[in-house]
């Protein structure tokens, strides 16, 4: 790399702490939400959920066992048979609109709790997660009484029954919204399991659903770990399974469901290629790379974790990217200026640190800015791996952290070959100033979502899902609606 004058981002003027102060009413213990009531687990089991930024316990949460799953599925079936599937569709829509509005009213509280339980910066939970949660409910509320016109052909949609939904810890409330809103709009009832490390916003949502006077049993929320999820997925009363999480668990679910006639959608891992061509608007590409991999600490299944740069601009782009990374603030998720919050859990931090070590052992060059990091809590600096090979573990494996593997390409064909040479296919990014190249590249990248000159943009009307090991089925938009209907 040629040496050139550098910019100094270690400035005399820096930002004072700006903590978010919105109050959150948090109980010491939370039960399971079954048939409209909070109850203890039948086996009496509980687990603690901690704030990953402080390692302090936030609340104790009941852990659902097989008997609780059975009770929840029964409640959901009763609600389905007697109330929800029979209700005029316009009335179902009214409930969803009411839920969406209540989320907007309590947005600040949900945002703060999401950041406390999951570690994501308040800027993101406030500006991205919670607004998208409300948007999803609004979007699917609108479809509730228009289902007969949603799909082409003479066949009419009808609900499928009780849906078992298992969601991850990276976007806890948003994933709950992605799952619940289309299911409810179509007339289904739900048993939903939030992730073990992030159950609190789902339980707050249960309180909100009660305030919205949603009929009991329409939505049941069962915190727990893998065993709870398996019990929901395998319960004979569940007609449709929706899972978002790791590819390994997704494969296990697919194997167990192969013996049944249950419908399922799986949103699994990813290792997205972000491709920057030499003619791109380079400063904006740098910003897109940062948003692609450092958004939500890189805990994003569609994160742009593989960067491919056209060789002729590699040095310039990496210098700019490193300058930009020096200005990223790592720290307290509740500080309004934090760019990168806490890693969600200790095991996840250990996994990321394992890859930081492995990447270096395999010969890639690691770079991190000299950003201060809090002494307590689970934190990881934004990290680049330069000079990676296609066979490097940091290129092959989904790390699910703020770690970007950088490679170069010389020709368009080479870029496409390398981008698609992965078992995953959830998302991709293309950066070029040439419109024709945008269309050519985006049609060749084999991934469910491909962004051009932007990254990590979501809208409820846009379907989302994976090719290959990144999943089965789509969520969002009409495609997501169809997964929750039978066409007869």
């Amino acid at each position: 790399m040629t040496t050139s004058p550098t910019l100094n981002f270690d400035t005399d003027w820096s930002y004072a702490p700006a903590p978010e102060t919105a109050p959150v009413e948090l109980a010491d213990a939370y039960g399971l939400f079954i048939n409209g009531e909070f109850t203890d687990a039948k086996a009496g089991k509980t687990f603690g959920t901690v704030n990953p930024a402080t390692e302090k316990r936030l609340a104790t949460v009941a852990e659902a066992g097989d008997a609780d799953v059975d009770a929840a599925v029964t409640a959901a079936q009763t609600a389905y048979d007697k109330v929800w599937s029979k209700m005029p569709a316009a009335d179902r829509g009214k409930y969803l609109f009411r839920i969406a509005r209540l989320i907007q009213e309590r947005a600040r509280e949900f945002a703060v709790l999401e950041s406390m339980d999951g570690g994501k910066p308040i800027r993101e939970s406030r500006d991205v997660d919670i607004p998208l949660v409300a948007a999803h409910f609004f979007y699917y509320a609108g479809w509730a009484d228009k289902l007969d016109y949603a799909f082409p052909g003479p066949r009419k949609p009808s609900p499928v029954g009780v849906c078992g939904q298992v969601i991850p810890w990276n976007f806890p409330l948003l994933m709950a919204a992605w799952k619940l809103a289309p299911a409810l709009a179509c007339g289904n009832t739900v048993v939903l399991k939030p992730a073990e490390t992030t159950p609190l916003t789902a339980l707050k949502l249960a309180e909100l659903l009660r305030d919205a006077e949603l009929p009991p049993g329409v939505v049941n929320i069962l915190p727990g770990a893998g065993a709870t999820g398996a019990a929901i997925v395998n319960h004979p009363g569940v007609k449709k399974v929706a899972f978002t999480g790791s590819t390994d668990v997704g494969k296990a679910i697919a194997r167990s469901l192969a013996k049944t006639d249950k419908r399922f959608t799986l949103e699994l891992g990813g290792k997205a290629a972000n491709l920057v061509f030499a003619d791109a608007a380079i400063d904006q590409a740098v910003e897109g790379i940062v948003n692609g991999i450092f958004f939500n600490q890189g805990h994003v299944c569609c994160a742009g974790s593989r960067l491919f740069v056209e060789e002729s601009i590699h040095d310039e782009l990496i210098a700019k990217l490193q300058d930009r990374m020096k200005t990223l603030i790592v720290g307290d998720p509740l500080d309004k200026n934090t760019d990168i919050g806490a890693i969600n859990s200790r095991p996840q931090l250990e996994k990321i640190e394992h890859y930081l070590k492995l990447g270096q052992e395999e010969g890639a060059e690691m770079w991190q800015p000299e950003t201060p990091v809090p002494a307590r809590g689970f934190f990881c600096k934004p990290t680049l791996f330069l000079n990676c090979a296609q066979s490097s573990s940091v290129v092959q494996d989904e790390i699910f952290g703020p770690v970007l593997a950088v490679q170069t390409f010389r020709t368009f064909g080479e870029a496409m070959t390398k981008a698609n040479n992965t078992p995953y296919g959830l998302s991709g990014g293309v950066w070029t100033d040439k419109g024709a190249k945008v269309f050519k590249a985006t049609s060749k990248v084999r991934a469910g979502v491909v962004w051009a000159n932007t990254f990590n943009k979501f809208d409820p009307s846009s379907p989302f899902g994976g090719y290959k090991e990144s999943g089965v089925g789509r969520e969002g938009g009409l495609h997501g609606l169809k997964e929750y209907c039978s066409l007869n």
Partner: protein, 306 residues
């Protein structure tokens, strides 16, 4: 290329409008509180080019403005005991002698708009003479305008040459080149004009005259700051930036400083490298300084309107 471009400066990278707007909005989401805010407010005061540019300007009005530049606020007001002075007073060339007399020995720079401000629609020799006279009269900074019509017509050579010749006419005086971004219509044009001005010898690049809407915007300023960063990486030269027009509140000013800090860093957080062209900004900043020290907003009547 549709433009008959023969100026041999390196090509400018394309600018993505959507990306620029998103990045600019992100700076505005920074929350600046307490001591960081006080520091930013004082830095803002020290970067202001206190400006009066109207046909009605008179010696009395300019004297009044110079007095304000020297005595921003009553030192007995809370938080106002150790205020910096503004960076410069900015006037029309005819007012330079008046301001010169008032500002001598204060450390406050004297900027004159020249080269047929604000349109530049005069023959080049007249514009250069305008510059020379302003410098002779005592201006140590010249804010020139480029020929936007020539630029838009693709005659980049002409624009490059007029900047280079104005720089020569400035002698020792610093040259700020006003691009009048509100008339350049695209960010790609703003970027190209910025690169052109820096290569032609600008000490500062400046957004606007204040007579065209839109004047300074965060987005256009970001495009120019990125051009300055690239010029620095390529040449080692440190070019200053001056957004001018439309910056009226402390909140706006602080967001510009956030942008500056995160785009160019430490070296630019200084009045020699960054200016605000503004007339009403100073009082809002003073009001905020008093608020930070006392906890209360004072009435506007406690701050002189000059």
């Amino acid at each position: 290329m549709p433009m008959p471009e023969t100026v041999s400066i390196p090509p400018s990278p394309p600018v993505d409008q959507v990306g620029i707007h998103e990045r600019a909005a992100r700076f505005a989401s920074r929350s600046i509180k307490k001591e960081a805010k006080v520091q930013a407010l004082k830095l803002t005061l020290s970067m202001i080019d206190l400006t009066t540019l109207t046909g009605a300007d008179s010696p009395g009005k300019v004297k009044q403005l110079c007095t304000k530049a020297k005595h921003l606020a009553d030192p007995d007001l809370p938080g106002c005991d150790d205020l910096p002075h503004v960076a410069a007073v900015c006037v029309y060339p005819t007012m330079v002698p008046v301001a010169k007399k008032e500002l001598d020995g204060t450390g406050i720079h004297l900027a004159a708009v020249a080269t047929g401000f604000p349109t530049g629609q005069y023959p080049l020799p007249v514009r250069l003479e305008d510059t020379r006279r302003a410098v002779e009269a005592g201006a140590d900074e010249i804010d020139m305008v480029i020929s936007r019509g020539r630029f838009l017509a693709g005659d980049l050579n002409y624009v490059f040459d007029e900047i280079a010749q104005t720089k020569e006419a400035c002698g020792e005086a610093h040259l700020k080149v006003i691009l009048e971004t509100g008339e350049l219509s695209t960010y790609d044009n703003v970027r190209r004009a910025s690169d052109l001005a820096m290569h032609a010898g600008a000490d500062f690049i400046k957004t606007s005259t204040g007579t065209v809407s839109p004047a300074a915007t965060p987005e256009v300023t970001l495009v120019m700051l990125q051009a300055i960063a690239d010029f620095h990486r390529a040449t080692g030269k440190v070019i200053g930036m001056k957004p001018a027009g439309g910056i009226k509140t402390s909140k706006q000013a602080i967001h510009y400083l956030v942008m500056l800090r995160e785009t160019l860093g430490q070296q630019w957080l200084h009045p020699d490298r960054f200016r605000f062209g503004a007339s009403s900004l100073a009082n809002d900043v003073l009001m905020q300084i008093v608020k930070q020290a006392s906890g209360n907003y004072q009435s506007g009547d406690y701050f002189s309107l000059d």
